[in-house]
C-alpha cells in the first residue's frame, strides 16, 4: 500500500514538473506562432524595399543593424577589457566591488537609463536624437553581460596553461595574448552575441535617445533620429488596422529571426569552445 502511495506521489510530482516544463515551452511556441500568424500576409519583399512611412520595414531593419554594429564597436571592446581586468589583474577586494557594480548595473530598469540619456545626453549636452547616445545607453544595458562572460571565460581556462606561462617567465600581457585569450575567445564571443541579442530587443532607452524616423539611417552621430524594429512593434500593436498589425508582427518576427540566429551563433561558438578545451592538456 505504502509502495503504491510512494509511486503515486512520485508520478504526480513529476507530472507537475513536466507540466511546468510545458508551461515554459508553450508561451515561446505561442508567441512565435502568433507572430507568424499575424504577419503572414505582410511577409513579402515590400518589407525590405519600403520604409515605415509606406508600411515597410527598410529603415527599421537598417537602424537595428546599425545599432548592433555600434554595440559591437563600443560595448564589445570595453566589456572584454573590463572582464580581462577583473579576471587577471584585479586584487580580490577591488574585483568584488567592480563585480557588484556590474551585477547591479544589470538590474537597473532600462527606462532609467533612457531617462538619464534623454536629460543628460539629448538635452543638456545638446546631442539631440543621436546615434551615439543610443549606443551609450544600450552599452549601459549590455556591458554587464560582456564583462561577466569574459571574466568567467578567463577563469575557466585550465590552470596548466597559466602555470606553463609562469614557468616560462612570460610578461602578463603576453600570457594573456598567447595562452589565455585564445581558448577563451569562443566563450567571450558568445557573451558578445548575448549582448547583441539584448540590444536588438530594447525599446525604452532608444525612444528617448534616438527617437524614431521613417528615413533610412545615416552614420551621423548627433542630431539625427533613426528607426528600429522594436518601435514598430510597440507603435503598431496599438493601431487599429489589420495591415499595421501585420507590419508589427513582421517586425517582431524579424527580431525573433535575428535572435534565433544569434542564439544559434552562440551555441556554435560554445561548441567550438568545448572542442578546443577538450584538446588542451588538463
Amino acid at each position: 500500500m505504502r509502495e503504491i502511495l510512494r509511486r503515486a506521489r512520485d508520478t504526480m510530482f513529476w507530472g507537475l514538473c513536466l507540466l511546468a516544463l510545458a508551461l515554459v515551452i508553450a508561451p515561446s511556441i505561442a508567441i512565435i506562432a502568433s507572430l507568424l500568424q499575424q504577419s503572414w500576409p505582410a511577409l513579402n519583399l515590400n518589407l525590405f524595399t519600403n520604409t515605415t512611412a509606406t508600411n515597410g520595414l527598410q529603415n527599421a531593419i537598417l537602424g537595428s543593424l546599425l545599432l548592433m554594429a555600434g554595440i559591437l564597436v563600443v560595448a564589445g571592446p570595453v566589456g572584454i577589457a573590463g572582464g580581462i581586468y577583473l579576471a587577471e589583474f584585479a586584487p580580490p577586494a577591488r574585483a568584488g566591488i567592480l563585480r557588484l557594480g556590474y551585477e547591479t548595473l544589470a538590474g537597473i530598469p532600462s527606462i532609467i537609463i533612457g531617462f538619464v540619456g534623454y536629460i543628460v545626453l539629448a538635452q543638456e549636452l545638446h546631442w539631440g536624437f543621436s546615434l551615439l547616445a543610443a549606443i551609450l545607453a544600450l552599452s549601459a544595458i549590455v556591458l554587464p553581460y560582456v564583462v561577466k562572460t569574459t571574466e568567467v571565460a578567463l577563469l575557466q581556462v585550465p590552470a596548466t596553461l597559466r602555470d606553463g606561462a609562469i614557468a616560462l617567465g612570460l610578461p602578463r600581457v603576453t600570457t594573456l595574448r598567447r595562452a589565455l585569450l585564445p581558448p577563451a575567445i569562443p566563450a567571450i564571443a558568445s557573451g558578445v552575441v548575448v549582448a547583441l541579442a539584448i540590444a536588438v530587443g530594447e525599446t525604452a532607452p532608444l525612444l528617448y535617445t534616438v527617437g524614431f524616423t521613417s528615413q533610412d539611417p545615416t552614420l551621423n552621430l548627433f542630431q539625427h533620429p533613426i528607426g528600429y524594429l522594436t518601435y514598430v512593434v510597440y507603435l503598431n500593436a496599438t493601431l487599429p488596422t489589420k495591415l499595421e498589425h501585420e507590419v508589427a508582427g513582421a517586425a517582431g518576427l524579424l527580431i525573433l529571426v535575428m535572435l534565433l540566429a544569434l542564439i544559434g551563433l552562440g551555441r556554435l561558438v560554445a561548441r567550438r569552445a568545448a572542442r578546443y578545451a577538450a584538446q588542451l592538456p588538463s
Binding site: 513529476w14 514538473c17 511546468a20 516544463l21 581586468y85 531617462f115 548575448v194
Partner: protein
C-alpha cells in the same frame, strides 16, 4: 585567477615575516608594458561601476525638487498630475514652484508595481523550479540542449513582443475563456469577482511578467541544482528512494535558500520591466484597480508614457516628478538586487550565476 605564489593555496597565505607582503609580491612580475595595459583595462573595468554611480547620482539630482515639493505625499498621495499648464498661477510648496494644481502622488504606481511583480513571482517560481527539475532530472540528456533553447528564447524575447502578444492574443484569450471561469470559482475572494474586462489589466500583465521572469529564476536554479553533490543523489537512489523523494530530501533543501535568492532576482527583474507592462496594463491613473482584472499602472510604464511630454511643463517640475518616481523604482530594484546577490553569495560557494535577464 590571481598569480599564485604558493601551489594549491589561496593567494595571501602568510609566510615567514621576512618576505615582502603578498600584495607587493603580487605585482612583482609585471613589466612596464603590463602596468600600462593594466591601467587601460582598469579604466574599462571601472566603466560599469561608474555608469551605475552616474545614473544613480543623476536620477537623485533630478528628483530632489519633486521630493522637496511633495514631501511624504509622494509616497502616500493618490493623484499624479502635472497640473494645469494653461493658467499662469503657480502652486508653491516648501519653496518649490510647480504648475497650478500639480500633485505628485506615486502610491498607485508603487502599488501597481509591487502587486503585479509579486503575483508574477508567485506564479513564476513554482513553474520555473518545476521546469528545471523536470529538465535536469527527468528529461533524457539528448533532449536537454534542444529544450533549453526555449528558456533562452523566453529570456531574449523583446519586451515589446511580449506586449504585442499580450494585447492581441493572450489578453483577449484570457478575458474570453479564463477570467469568466476564474471570476465564478474565485467569486468568494473579493479581488477575483466583478467585471472581467477585455484583457488589459493586472492579472494579464502579471501573467506575462511571470513568463518573462521564468528564465532568470530557472537559470539560477539550474546552476544551483548542478552544485548538488552527485554522491548525495546517488546515495538516495541507492537507498531506494523514488526520484520525487530524492528531489524532496536531497536536492530541494540543498538549493532552498538559493531558490529564495533566485526568486528575489526574478522579482527585481519584474519590478523594472517596462514596455510589456506599458502595453498591457491599461494604464489607470489616479486610482487603484477595482479587481484583479482591472487596469493599473506601474512606475516604469508611467515614466515611459509621460516622459515624452514632460517638457511641456515650463517649470520643469514634470521632469523632476518623473525622476522622483524613477528614484523610488531605482531604490526598490537596487535593494532587491543587492539582497538577492547577498543571499546567493552566501549560498552558492563560488558558483557563477546569471545576471539581469537570465542569459
Amino acid at each position: 585567477m590571481r598569480f599564485k605564489l604558493t601551489a594549491g593555496g589561496a593567494g595571501g597565505n602568510a609566510g615567514p615575516t621576512f618576505l615582502p607582503s603578498a600584495r607587493k609580491l603580487a605585482g612583482a612580475d609585471l613589466t612596464a608594458r603590463d602596468r600600462a595595459v593594466r591601467w587601460v583595462l582598469l579604466g574599462a573595468g571601472l566603466v560599469p561601476t561608474l555608469m551605475l554611480l552616474f545614473l544613480t547620482a543623476e536620477m537623485v539630482r533630478e528628483a530632489i525638487p519633486a521630493f522637496v515639493y511633495s514631501g511624504w505625499s509622494l509616497f502616500t498621495g493618490h493623484v499624479f498630475t502635472f497640473g494645469n499648464l494653461y493658467v499662469t498661477k503657480l502652486t508653491v510648496h516648501h519653496g518649490v514652484s510647480a504648475p497650478h494644481g500639480a500633485a505628485y502622488g506615486a502610491l498607485p504606481f508603487i502599488f501597481g508595481t509591487l502587486v503585479s511583480s509579486l503575483i508574477a513571482l508567485v506564479v513564476a517560481v513554482p513553474v520555473a523550479v518545476g521546469a528545471v527539475l523536470a529538465l535536469t532530472e527527468r528529461v533524457p540528456a539528448r533532449l536537454q540542449p534542444g529544450l533549453s533553447v526555449f528558456f533562452e528564447l523566453l529570456a531574449g524575447m523583446p519586451s515589446v513582443v511580449y506586449g504585442f502578444w499580450g494585447i492581441l492574443v493572450f489578453g483577449p484569450l484570457l478575458a474570453k475563456h479564463v477570467f469568466p471561469v476564474l471570476a465564478h470559482l474565485g467569486g468568494l475572494l473579493p479581488f477575483f469577482s466583478g467585471s472581467v474586462g477585455y484583457g488589459e489589466g493586472l492579472l494579464t500583465a502579471s501573467l506575462v511578467l511571470a513568463i518573462m521572469i521564468i528564465p532568470i529564476i530557472a537559470a539560477t536554479t539550474r546552476e544551483l541544482v548542478r552544485t548538488v553533490p552527485i554522491l548525495a543523489k546517488e546515495g538516495a537512489l541507492a537507498l531506494g528512494m523514488t526520484q520525487y523523494e530524492t528531489a524532496k530530501v536531497v536536492i530541494l533543501p540543498y538549493v532552498r535558500r538559493g531558490i529564495l535568492a533566485a526568486a528575489i532576482l526574478g522579482w527585481a527583474r519584474a519590478l523594472g520591466e517596462t514596455m510589456a507592462v506599458l502595453m498591457i496594463s491599461g494604464d489607470l491613473l489616479n486610482g487603484f484597480p477595482a479587481n484583479i482584472y482591472s487596469p493599473f499602472s506601474s512606475i516604469a510604464a508611467t515614466i515611459v508614457a509621460m516622459l515624452d511630454s514632460a517638457l511641456t511643463d515650463a517649470t520643469g517640475m514634470a521632469i523632476h516628478a518623473l525622476a522622483a518616481i524613477g528614484v523610488i523604482l531605482l531604490v526598490i530594484t537596487l535593494a532587491t538586487n543587492l539582497l538577492g546577490r547577498l543571499i546567493i553569495r552566501r549560498v552558492s560557494h563560488g558558483v557563477v550565476l546569471p545576471i539581469g535577464r537570465g542569459v
